[in-house]
Amino acid sequence: MSSMEKTKRDYSLVGESTRRAIETGLASAEWYHTDVPRKVMKDLMQRSDGPAIRDTILWFALLIGSAAGAIWFWGTWWCVPFFFVYGVIYGSSSDSRWHECGHGTAFRTRWMNDVIYQIASFMLMRNPVQWRWSHARHHTDTIIVGRDAEIAVMRPPDLLKAALMFTGLLDFRYSLPGLFRQAFRGLNAEEESYIPEMERHRAVVAARWHVAIYLATLAVALYSWSFLPLMLIGLPRLYGSWHMVLTGLLQHIGLADNVTDHRLNSRTVYMNPVSRWIYWNMNYHVEHHMFPMVPYHALPRLHELIKHDLPEPNPSMWHAYREAWPALLRQLKYEDYFLKRELPPTARPYRDEFHNLATPTAAE
């Protein structure tokens, strides 16, 4: 099928693209995996509490320490650097904690994953039940249009919207009213398309808890006639989420959609150690999608093991954005355009006949 014959993408989860994805077998398909010997994979998947306990102690220390500094210096300019740290820990690093604990791979001990998952979900204004299911769908149908509920930049890309993501405004505008709607009116049709019936009540209850805490925070702010409670609970989602967007946008932008090979739709980017700590190694994103049960601390080892079969990683975030930007600009005019990243000679080739990669719109 040539690009000319393709129909417009419908990102609704209950629309035309959904129907087509199911009909063509793109939904719940079998995905490409690099061969890894069973014993090695078993070793990589092993859980331990140690690394995540260490990182969580540091996480809470930074959170509490920066909050204490911000409160202490509230009313002076000295509070700004403390809010800068607090915002990134609250509004950005919570995303990777939410993500890894949602997968159940951060800790070996289940309740530890569950506790951090709940805390991080609250920080992110994400309904913990709804987002567990949406992320399961993201892994089943990664960047399959009409199926994946977590496609950050759709085609044609809305660049203003993408830029505004760095401010957290759009996510905030979507997340908070979403929680209120779920708490008082229930789930919508899209959410019900990926949340099983037996889980829906739990999702509504979780939304009510979140809303109750936000209302209590607002009440404290009004009672004390101070903006400070909101700066500590809720608003960090606005002023601190820039790092989450900076790293997270690179996961899939500009790459292929509607394929079943993560080497085509996901991107691995080498990053500085601070960003990797905040992001819990999700820069190894092809590896994560191919083997989602490998804990974050084992992803560098997995990367070394399978990199012969993956496209060359971007050497930096800057490099990755410079690569993606022209692709996004081109997608404004040619919706089907995408970056086809070159594989090393040691890799097993893409299944061109299956992925329809020979269209003139793909670029290497």
Binding site: R47, T105, R132, W133, E199, P292, M293
Partner: protein
């Protein structure tokens, strides 16, 4: 009365591990627990039909390699989201170093 089907040799499965066994168009997972006992379940996760033999065995839990769905492989019980439906289990016996599963 179950038909006893030869699935694998004892040594084919490491302790605290799982292998895949296909028989007459069906797929199963054969487990060896940390204390050396054998168990068998359906081979596909009840959530998204992923082969459990690619997953991780921890104590008496099998974890799906795709979405972290967890089952008790001894009872088949689903242990929480994203799995809601229990896994079918099958009787197992070991004779002369061979593992058999009982199928109706």
């Amino acid at each position: 009365m179950a038909d006893w089907i030869e699935a694998c040799l004892v040594d084919d499965v490491d302790e605290e591990d799982v292998i895949r066994f296909d028989h007459e168009g069906r797929t199963f997972a054969i487990y060896r627990s940390p204390d050396g006992q054998f168990f068998a379940t359906d081979g596909l996760c009840t959530h998204e039909k992923v082969h459990l033999a690619d997953g991780l065995v921890m104590d008496d839990i099998i974890e799906c390699p795709k979405h972290n769905g967890r089952f008790n492989y001894k009872t088949g019980a689903a242990k929480g989201a994203p799995v809601c439906v229990n896994l079918a289990t099958y009787p197992v016996k070991v004779e002369a170093g061979t593992v058999f599963i009982g199928l109706d």
